[in-house]
């Protein structure tokens, strides 16, 4: 794994454990500063007819709102800030890994676990706030009371598996692509081929130059577009699953809240 990481940028005085700022935190700070700066610049001079940066951000946010309306319906509108922030941040972090010399913070398990935990706790909070603790817990018990001892552990495990799968999906996809790039670049001998091409011998220039050219064309023409596609797709999937979880936490309320009432009264 040394191939796809580099030495930490910021070092700390010795009394701060562990003595340095990990790189994924540094790059996350970078993305935070850039995104916050862009958002601030876009909202600095808001006009009725948008232009420039404000126009761009309005288009992006309208796309998110369209997505929320499609998946969650109009009651999903209040969660636009959470969902759009998650989407923009994860997309930026994914794309940052494609800049040569930089690490994508999403290739570190800690980053993805942090976002997955944010999603986990927030959708439970939203569910509890929407329908109260007792009603929310009742959904874990299953449809009939004598199934509750069976359903409760299953529901708990399935809810605990959600942040795990969110974490590992994003992490595995991003780090798998990075290992692929690293293998193509370093283990298949791009350095050796380029060195051969520059060594001065005629046959070395032909073989090494051609081999290096093929490898670079393959990487830039095929692997990079693939990785850009995967970056967008994984951010989309993360946001989409977040919306589904929140919609599930809210929707239960209407089902159980509205259906038994006509039957009882």
């Amino acid at each position: 794994m040394d191939v796809i990481e580099h030495a930490p940028i910021f070092r700390l005085p010795f009394f701060f454990w562990p003595g340095y700022v990990p790189d994924h935190v540094t790059y996350t700070w970078l993305v935070m500063i850039v995104l916050a700066g862009l958002a601030f610049a876009a909202s600095l001079n808001v006009q009725r007819v948008p232009s420039g940066l404000q126009n761009f951000f309005e288009v992006v946010l309208e796309q998110f709102q369209q997505l929320i309306d499609d998946v969650m319906g109009p009651e999903g509108r209040p969660f636009l800030p959470l969902i759009a922030t998650l989407g923009l941040v994860i997309l930026s972090l994914n794309l940052l890994g494609l800049v040569p010399g930089m690490n994508g913070p999403t290739t570190n398990l800690n980053t993805t676990a942090a976002y997955a935990l944010v999603v986990f706790f927030s959708y439970h909070y939203i569910g509890v706030r929407a329908q109260g603790l007792g009603t929310y817990l009742k959904h874990f018990m299953g449809p009939v009371w004598w199934l509750a001892p069976l359903m409760f552990p299953i529901e708990i495990i399935s809810h605990l598996a959600r942040p795990l799968s969110l974490t590992l999906r994003l992490f595995g996809n991003m780090v798998g692509g990075h290992i692929l790039l690293a293998i193509i670049f370093f283990l298949m001998g791009l350095q050796g081929l380029i060195g051969w091409a520059l060594s001065g011998s005629a046959i070395g220039a032909v073989v090494g130059g051609l081999g290096g050219l093929v490898m670079i064309v393959f990487t830039v023409g095929f692997l990079y577009p693939l990785k850009i596609l995967v970056s967008f797709l994984q951010a989309f999937v993360f946001v989409m699953l977040t919306m589904l979880y929140i919609a599930g936490a809210i929707e239960h309320a209407e089902h159980h809240g509205s259906e038994p009432h006509p039957a009882h009264h």
Binding site: M1, L168, G172, V175, V237, M240
Partner: protein, 109 residues
């Protein structure tokens, strides 16, 4: 006949492990676990990728079929397909994570 074939296959599988284990026997942490973990990581990823491809192919086939029948609902079908693909793919990603733990972290030596 079949049993001898299986034994021969197992022997072929075991040879690289033995050969790898015996070369650096002096500084090795001991045992076949290191070489076998490399072998297992590769085979696990191969099986996972193949079976995941079968599952995703089935999902994509029926999604494309549905989109061809009802082009009006293509956007919703595509969204559902992408979510399903992500959920199927995450199983192969689990195997990838396990393989990477076996290769890079090596908790058992």
């Amino acid at each position: 006949m079949r049993r001898s074939l299986i034994l021969a296959g197992l022997a072929v599988l075991a040879v690289p492990g033995l050969a790898l284990a015996q070369a650096p026997a002096a500084e090795s942490h001991g045992g076949l676990i290191g070489p076998y973990s490399v072998l297992v990581a590769g085979f696990a990823m191969a099986f996972a990728a193949g079976l995941c491809a079968l599952g995703q192919g089935k999902a994509v086939a029926s999604a494309v079929d549905a989109m061809a029948r009802q082009p009006g609902a293509a956007a919703r079908i595509q969204t559902a397909m992408i979510i399903g693909l992500a959920l199927i793919e995450s199983l192969a990603i689990y195997v990838l994570v396990v393989a990477m733990i076996l290769l890079f972290v090596q908790p058992i030596k």
